[in-house]
Structure formats: C-alpha cells, structure tokens
C-alpha cells in the first residue's frame, strides 16, 4: 500500500495536536490527525470549568473553546484533520485499520504517533462488590452529561476518591444541582494537595479519609452504599456513586497488537524519543502514563513531535533497547526503555516516576551497578516524580530505580 502521509497521529487531544503542529513546524510535509470524535480537544472538551492553555497558548480556555483553539491552530499549520475516524487495529508495518463514516479502510504512513490519552477505570475493573444498578459513573462520564447534554446522572451521589479530579467533580455536582452525600478516600491521606482538599468540608460535605466503599445496593438505580472505616460499617443512602481518579491509559490498540504495553504504566513502552518497541510507532501524552494536565500533555506532544521529525530525517532506528527496571513501591518509570544515543534529539530529558502508595525513603537510580542519583523524602502516590536522565544512561547495559524505605 502506498504511504498516505509522513505521519498519522491517532488522537486529537492536546498531545496529538501539539505533535502535529510541531511536525509541520519542522517541515514535515504531510501530517494527518485521526480523531474518533467529531471535534478536537480530547478530554479537555469534557471539563467545562477547568482552565487550559496557559502553558501553551499564554491564555486560558475552558472546555470546548480549547478544542476550537486546537482546531484553528491545526488548520493554520496545514495539518489534515479527519474527525469521525476510529482506528481499530495496528499492524506491525505501520498499517492502520480504520473505520469512518465511509466504512473500513487501511491507511499507512512512515511513522505513527499514538496519542489516545487516558480514561478512568470503570466500576467493573475496580471489582467493587454489590448490585450493578444505574448511577455508578466516573468523572469523565459526569462531565460529559453536563457539558454536552445538560443532564445529570444523579442528585445525591457518594464520591469515591480525592484526587484533584474528585474535587473538580464535587464542584460540577454543586453547580448543577446535585448535592454529594459524602466524599470517600480509602487511603489515610487525601491525594490532592491542601488547601484544595479542604473544599468538601468547607461546603459541608463529609470527607471520610481511610474509608472504603464495600457494597453498592440498588435494584434499578443506586439506593445506598455501605462504607467501612476503622473496621466498622455504615450505610449511606444515595442515588449514585461517582468513581473518580484511577486513570488508565487508553492503550487498548497497543495491548491488542504484537507490541503490548508496559505493565507499570499500562501504556506503550517508549524510549527517550517517545519511540515504542516498534520504531515505526511513537507515543505521547497521557497514554504514556496516567495522568497529567492538558498543558503537560501538550508540551509532551510537542517534544515527541520534534523527535519524530528528526527521526524521519535520519531513518528508522531499530537498535536494541535497554529496559528501565524498577521494584515495588515504584509503580512506573517513563520512558521505560532507552535506546543508544542517536542523532534523534531526545523528547524526554527526565524520567517520570510514580509510586503505588505513600512511602518514606530513599529513591535511587543505578546505572550499570553504580548509583548515579538519589533523594530521600516522602513520596506520594499519583504525584509525578522527575529524575534527570544522565547522558551515560543512553549507552548503559542496565538502568534501574529502587526505593529503600526508612
């Protein structure tokens, strides 16, 4: 099959669009974005009251207006945007199986950039006990009820989780006539930073730390939940459950393909240039690891776009890669593989790490058996940890992180 483009970008959120803009700026001729929704913007479109754009455009946009800004920029830059296009399979040679209003077709490009973002884990994947009534939704679903349809999935939900997105969801509820019954956080600490975590309490919503959701009851719609705190159980009447956080990369096409995913991040494995195990495929944005802001994803997309442009110049790099190893309680390291330094300019000059739980101890980076970096402090889950990638890492045989707990 003939090459349709130099680069096909899968996903028209901040990272995908940023990469496409950068590719054009670097002189790459033909760049196509495939977006399955009717508009660009990705997850930002759902967030009607979160500010986007400061980092990348120097001003603030809300919800769908940010997506329109991306559309304007893409048009100005000469990026070909195809909305309503869903990619259903990735082939090793860079062929994509795609469905659109015109039916199924195959597309091929010299490089593919995978920028499909992240979503929240649904109730099923969390294996929560109970009935399965209507009214158990994630924040993303709530936001789309409100933003696109002027509807609400419930009036008196219990909110599970205390990442930033939970607090934003609490605000959404209050602004649209719902009154959360309680906010639950299974861990002993809130995940967002104070003073944001004071917010539920300030508006009079009970905030239970160290509290688990242990049962959902309801025949058709949610009627009540059972919560457990310090070993004792309590029933809360409610008409919905809002599951927040627990973002996961939308990496299903990679998982299905021969390339697989990284078991730590659940996203594609990438090297310092955003190149995956198959050098035809690159990846950027929240599909690499859940979850960062739209602005962060945009910058990442731009950086990977730049690397990809120089990779196109210098030709496919099929060199072996070295995995970046890590042990519990380190959840993920991204980039998770490294390739020997080449002429391609690196997209990442820092490792991004996350831990699975709150841990106090010494985090260290070892290269070929020698410790080259360390830091001791309290590491919090769902917060990014950044560690510079030392130049010698790119020619090493073994690179690994570990934490020794105090």
């Amino acid at each position: 099959m003939n090459m349709l483009a130099d680069v096909i970008v899968i996903g028209g959120g901040p990272s995908g669009v940023a990469a496409a803009l950068e590719l054009r700026r670097q002189g790459v001729e033909k760049v196509i974005i495939l977006e399955r929704e009717p508009y660009l913007g990705g997850a930002t479109r759902h967030c009607s009251h979160s500010p986007f754009g400061m980092l990348e455009f120097g001003r603030v946009y809300f919800g769908e207006s940010y997506g329109r800004k991306l559309e304007d920029e893409a048009a100005k830059a000469g990026v070909e945007v195809r909305t309503g296009y869903s990619v259903v399979d990735l082939e090793d040679d860079g062929t994509l199986r795609v469905t659109s209003p015109h039916g199924v077709e195959e597309m091929r490009a010299s490089r593919i950039l995978y920028a499909t973002g992240a979503r929240e884990k649904p109730r099923s994947a969390r294996l929560i006990t109970g009935d399965r009534p209507i009214g158990v939704v994630t924040t993303g679903t709530l936001q789309s009820y409100v933003a696109f349809h002027g509807l609400m999935p419930f009036r008196k939900p219990v909110i599970v989780g205390s990442e930033l997105v939970a607090l934003s969801a609490t605000l959404t509820c209050l602004m649209h006539g719902a009154r959360p019954v309680a906010v639950l956080e299974p861990r002993p600490h809130a995940l967002a930073r104070a003073p944001l975590t004071w917010f539920p309490t300030l508006v009079g919503i009970p905030f239970h730390r160290g509290t688990e959701l242990v049962d959902i009851k309801g025949r058709t719609r949610v009627e009540a939940v059972t919560i457990r705190k310090n070993g004792s159980e309590q029933t809360l009447e409610c008409d919905g459950v809002l599951l927040t956080g627990q973002f996961t990369p939308e990496s299903s096409l990679f998982l299905k393909s021969t390339m697989g995913i990284d078991r730590g991040s659940d996203g594609p494995k990438v090297d310092q240039s955003g190149r995956t195990v198959n050098p035809i495929f690159f990846a950027a944005g929240n599909v690499l690891r859940a979850v960062e802001t739209g602005g962060w994803a945009f910058c990442e997309g731009r950086a990977v776009g730049k690397s990809l442009a120089s990779d196109l110049q210098s030709g496919i790099k099929a060199s072996d890669h070295v995995p970046v190893t890590h042990d519990d309680p380190i959840k993920l390291v991204m980039p998770s593989i490294l390739r020997r330094a080449d002429t391609t300019s690196a997209a990442f000059n820092q490792f991004q790490l996350r831990v699975t739980r709150r841990v106090k101890g010494r985090l260290s980076l070892e290269i070929d058996g020698k410790e080259v970096w360390s830091s001791r402090k309290v590491w919090m889950p769902e917060r990014r940890i950044l560690v510079p990638i030392p130049p010698q890492a790119l020619s090493a045989q073994a690179v690994g992180f570990r934490i020794v707990e105090d």
Binding site: S124, I134, H149, P153, T220
Partner: protein, 469 residues
Amino acid sequence: MVDTTSVASGELFDVAIIGAGVVGCATARRFAIAGANVVLIEKGSDILSGASKANSAILHTGFDAPPGSLELELVRAGRQEYLEIRETLGLSLVQTGALVCAWNELEADKLASIEAQGRGNGIEDLKVLSATQARETVPSLSGHLVAALEVSGEHVIDPWSAPLAYLTQAAGLGATFLRNTELHSGQFDGHWILKTSSGVINARSVINAAGLYGDVVDQRLGFEAEFRIKPRKGQFVVLDKAAFKHVPRIVLPVPTEITKGIVICPTAFGNVLIGPTAEDQDDRVRATVDTETLRALLKRGVELVPALEGMPVTAVYAGLRPASESKAYRVFSRPAQKAITLGGIRSTGLSSSLGLAQHALKLHNAFGEKFEPRHDIPNIGVPNLTETQERDWQRSDHGEIVCHCELVTKREIEAALESVVPPGDFGGLRRRTRAGMGRCQGFYCNARLAEMTKGRLATSLAAAEEGQA
C-alpha cells in the same frame, strides 16, 4: 400486536406463556409458527430480565448431559434447530470447540469415562488429547495441563440476540408480548383466566416458563408445587478483547457432581470470560458480585492460562440459575388443566430452549387443541453483534460511531429503539447493541446514550431534573 400495555378485553388467546426468558421466547416462536395465537407475559421491563441475561453463552452438544435424560434429548434437538435456523434469522455462531482440561492425574483418569459418556450420548467428535496435543490447539494453556478431551462441537453464540430473534419472529406472526406484566393468579375454568398486573388475560392453555419463579408461578396457577427453585448464583469476569487471541477455544474443567465448574471461554463479542461460580442463595432477584470472588476468578484464569496475567477487566456480572432440588429439568404436563411447566432449566437453557419449545408443542398436541400451521413465516433477522461476522461499522455507509469500545453505530442504536421488540431498560439496550459494554463501560458514550434514550427506558440513565418526580 406487540407490546401493548393493557390487554384487549375479551380476546381469548390460544396459549399464554409466562416468562420471556430464552425458553419463553423460543416457545412463543414455536407456537406462533404452529399457528397458535400466543401471548407472552413478562414481569420485567424487557425480555431476558431473569436467569437468561447472564450465562456462559455456550451452545452445548450435550456430551456431558445425564445419559437418557430429557435434558440431553432437548439440548440435542435445540442445538440442531439452532444450526438449522441460524442463517435465516442471522444468529451467531463461533465454532470454537472445547477442551475439557485435566489438571492432575485424578482428573485425567476421568477423561476416558467422560468420552465414553459423550459417545453414549450420541456425540461423535470427541478425542482425548495429550497435553502436548492440546497445547497445539491452545498454546497458552498452563504447563500443568495433564491431558484434555477435545469436544469439537461445543460452540460460542451471542446469548441475547438469539432469544430476541425468536420473539421477533413470533411477533411477526402476530404474537403479543406484554412486559411489566406480573401473573398474580390463574384459574382454569374450561380456559385459563389469568389475573395480571396489566389486567385479565384469557387463554385456552398456559405454559410456565418463569425460570427463577417457576415454582411460584405453578402455585399461582393453583398447582401443588412439584419442585422448589433454589437460585444458584454464578459470578463472571469478562476480560479485554486483547485476551481473545489467548483463548481460541472453550476451556472446560473436569466437572464435579455439583457444577460444571469454572470455564474460560471466548465470547462472540471477542472477549474472554471466566466463570461461573456456584453459590446457592434464597434471593431470586439480587445477583451481586463481590471483590474477593472476582479476584479468585481472575487468579484461577491466570493459573490455567498464564497469558491472561494483567489483562484488563472489561466487565463483571452475576447471574442466577433456576436450580431445583434435582439436576433434572422439571417438565410437567397437566392435560386436564391444559398447562405445561418448563421448570428447573438449570444451566443448559440457551442450548435446549428450541428443543424445549418443540417438546412443549408435542405435549400440547396431546391436549387436543388444533392450530392451522403457518406457511407465511417471516424470516426477520436480528442485527449481528458477533465479532467474527460482519458488524455495522464495517459497512461503507455506517455513519457515526457512538460507542467506540464496541464500535456501535448511531443507526444501530436507533434501529434497536425502533425495533419490533424494543429495549425496555438500559440492560436491554446494551444487550441489543453492545453500547456501553466495552472496556470503558460508558466513560465516553454513557451521556450520549442518556440523551438518545430519554423517556424511552423504564429507568432513565439521567436523574430527574430538580423538582421533577
């Protein structure tokens, strides 16, 4: 006439069928084809509201059914008819075959007798395989495998589209379907006078296909209870479509006296399911899932197929099987009262339903009622949802996709809402279209579906506006 909410006064139906599970739907079809004026009544807001909504979706051969049993006869008859009508009605079939896997020597010793039982049951395509031979067909099976019995005829089907097709065809022949209609009592006085939550229904004869309420309905019809339903819950975990390539065939355990055991099974929709558990309970309605059991199912799945390690969970569900004191089907005919009970259809109802329907008609013929068989049978198909057959999204003019995970088009959802037997609740819409059934479970499409189904389902997805009831 379909789906009227109250009953035309005075109409005397030939046959009233209680319960729109897979057995009720198949029976409605069989009697409608035979020329009867049929009414099918259902307590729930949609077909498949009880036991039939959750099963392992296998079209059984009957290789392991009790020899000489009615179950065996009807599974075989039902399966044969399914294969015969499959193409006309657009029904699903994934010809996976199954491996009964022995994980220790003790189990391996049983394979020969299972094979012998299968041959005795009239199933020919059986073969005992060494572990090596078995792994040639399913390379991902754990190295602990000792031996396996290959049963090539066990297949996977779409368990929801088939009953829908049966009822759709019955409706095309004029059958009446009344949902949200609970039977309160029945009296036989030359013909049946059935008091229901939708009013009185008159019928010459009655067929009880009430599944989890089979014993209750018999009592409400005034009969001595011949059996008692003891619901047996089965929990399932559904894995991401990425798991499908690792489980090309149905992986069955060596059965015990109590249960067929935990199955690892590809689905018609391209996923893999692990389950069911077998948990006796008294509640006939609630089928809850619980964290520990779901974890245990996942663990078992990984033990048997190590490649499933880390596979994302797409869905979890639980169903209730209408078990009774006995493993046998509880089928009774009462010619004096022109009543038939199709009860205790524990775990093979999907395979045997068409056979049960044939059997019910045979029993009914003995009542002396005569119908004029129909020759104008409409071959109304159901939309295909099976991954291995052409889906709407693969067609050249499919328009817009609403559910990205399951690639469900807008026009598929609209067609389901406008169909002859439209969905009565969200579960029904999901079963008819797959919308919201994929890996994100509605993260992307749930709000859109709420908009599209406004005012059309028993329980709306969106909460009422403030100030509304």
